[in-house]
């Protein structure tokens, strides 16, 4: 891999905020809308997706030299399907009620556009360290996105957070938040808020910290070999 390719740290930072899979790349929409009616299923789904994404990134970057171009997608799908089955069986064994609540959405991680696109863009081209860092970064970003949507929907929907009553008892529960329309509208508005936030890029402090990290990576003193 050529040296000046993306370093592990850069892929990690990129995955979390600048190229957040949900808010910036708009990938993996199906689970995002489906499981975020409460925090517990959202966190479980994020953990399952993290496991599958990291393992498949590692596996793909290990066998990337053997891949034939026209069988590429088939190999990715097989690898991802295996890790999803392992995750699904693990959930059914140790966290049974959560697995029942998530229902068909755990196997649907196989066709989650995020994982296949990471395998295609990053894992099948980069070394092991970069692919793993990218996997961790992306799954952290995905988890962040899921958690933010689930927080809004659960707070408004049933006044609880992780099942603990947070809002005062007088709060009228918005039943719609647990239903499909609530999911669509919440995600739409959150996308708008993030879009508006990134538009005012220079002002907000968060971008200064990320840029500082970015410039630190460029300076020769600190360029650790990836």
């Amino acid at each position: 891999m050529d040296k000046e390719g993306p370093t592990a740290l850069e892929r990690f930072i990129n995955g979390v905020l600048p190229e957040n899979p949900i808010y910036r790349q708009l990938l993996g929409m199906c689970p995002t809308l489906a499981v975020t009616n409460a925090m517990k299923p959202a966190v479980t789904m994020a953990a399952a997706t993290a496991f599958v994404l990291i393992c498949s990134n590692i596996m793909v970057s290990l066998i990337r030299r053997l891949l034939k171009p026209h069988l590429r997608i088939l190999v990715f799908t097989l690898t991802i399907a295996t890790f999803v089955t392992i995750a699904d069986r693990f959930l059914a064994a140790y966290v049974y009620d959560m697995s029942k609540q998530l229902g068909p959405y755990v196997p649907l991680i196989i066709v989650n556009c995020l994982i296949i696109s990471r395998a295609e863009i990053c894992a099948s081209k980069q070394g092991l360290a970069v692919a793993t860092a990218d996997g961790i970064g992306m799954s952290l970003g995905f988890g962040l996105g899921l958690a933010s949507i689930a927080t809004v929907r659960e707070l408004l929907g049933s006044g609880t957070w992780f099942g603990i009553h947070v809002l005062p008892a007088g709060w009228p529960n918005w039943g719609i938040m647990a239903l499909p329309p609530g999911a669509f509208v919440t995600l739409g508005l959150l996308l708008a808020v993030v879009e508006w936030g990134t538009r005012r890029r220079a002002a907000t402090g968060i971008w200064r910290t990320v840029r500082m990290l970015w410039s630190w990576r460029h300076s020769p003193a600190s360029s650790s070999s990836s």
Binding site: L26, L27, M29, C30, L33, A34, I73, L74, T77, L78, A81, T82, V84, T85, D88, R89, P104, P107, L108, I110, V111, N112, C113, I116, I176, L179, P180, P181, G182, A183, F184, V185, L187, G188, L189, L191, A192, V193, E195, W196, R199
Partner: protein
């Protein structure tokens, strides 16, 4: 008679009441991505309906002969291997990997077939075919069929599985075409800056989902109407 009402019920519930896109949230990526113009959206819908029917049919066969608990193949192998009949050997763990394998292969097969035998058809919706392999709706239909094949007492037959697939596909086409129609109008409206693109599309989809929610409960009415009509 009873199976006919059953089929009609499955069709209506898959197409309208529990619409794949607006109720079960599957197939959202193409729903948001391809719905810029009505003709491309309709082309995408037809491609999805076509592929979903083929792959659900193939997956039904695999499920009923290999994957469901108590399927004939593992039972036969277990008997010849001399295992005690008390315990049961089932391969349901392979279901996800076989489904996705069949879907990917059938999409590739259909793409080659359409490219060879009808170039105009290939020109209109050939470009969508590789996009379909990562479409959740196809896999979701097979998972629904698997869910109904768990209890050996009432298994789903091939017509039932095919009706679910067709209903789901037509429901998907309906939702994506409606969405495309609305989004074409949206291009001329003054959408606030941050909402442009995905934001407004999602809010419009939310309102459409609210409208489709009006269908819940229709299934019971249709059921009673059909049973009384056909008696």
């Amino acid at each position: 008679m009873e199976t006919l009402t059953g089929l009609i019920l499955i069709f209506i519930s898959a197409a309208l009441i529990n619409n794949f896109v607006l109720h079960y949230f599957v197939g959202i990526c193409p729903f948001l991505g391809v719905s810029r113009r009505v003709d491309t959206a309709f082309g995408m819908g037809c491609a999805v309906t076509f592929v979903i029917s083929i792959s659900t049919m193939l997956n039904w066969m695999f499920t009923s002969f290999i994957l469901r608990p108590g399927a004939p193949l593992p039972a036969w192998v277990w008997r010849t291997a001399g295992g005690n009949p008390q315990t049961q050997l089932d391969l349901s763990v392979l279901s996800y990997i076989i489904y996705i394998f069949v879907i990917a292969s059938s999409v590739q097969f259909v793409e080659m077939y359409v490219r060879k035998f009808s170039p105009p058809l290939y020109k209109s919706f050939g470009v969508f075919l590789p996009l379909i392999t990562t479409n959740c709706a196809i896999l979701f239909a097979s998972l629904e069929v698997l869910k109904h094949m768990q209890d050996p007492a009432n298994l789903w037959s091939l017509p039932q599985a095919l009706t679910l697939a067709l209903g789901g596909g037509i429901g998907f086409t309906l939702a994506i075409s409606l969405m495309a129609g609305i989004r074409e109008e949206l291009d001329l409206c003054d959408v606030p800056r941050p909402l442009r693109g995905a934001g407004i599309a999602l809010i419009v989809a939310g309102i459409m989902a609210m409208a489709f929610m009006g269908f819940t409960g229709v299934e019971k009415g249709v059921e009673t109407a059909l049973t009384s009509l056909l008696r």
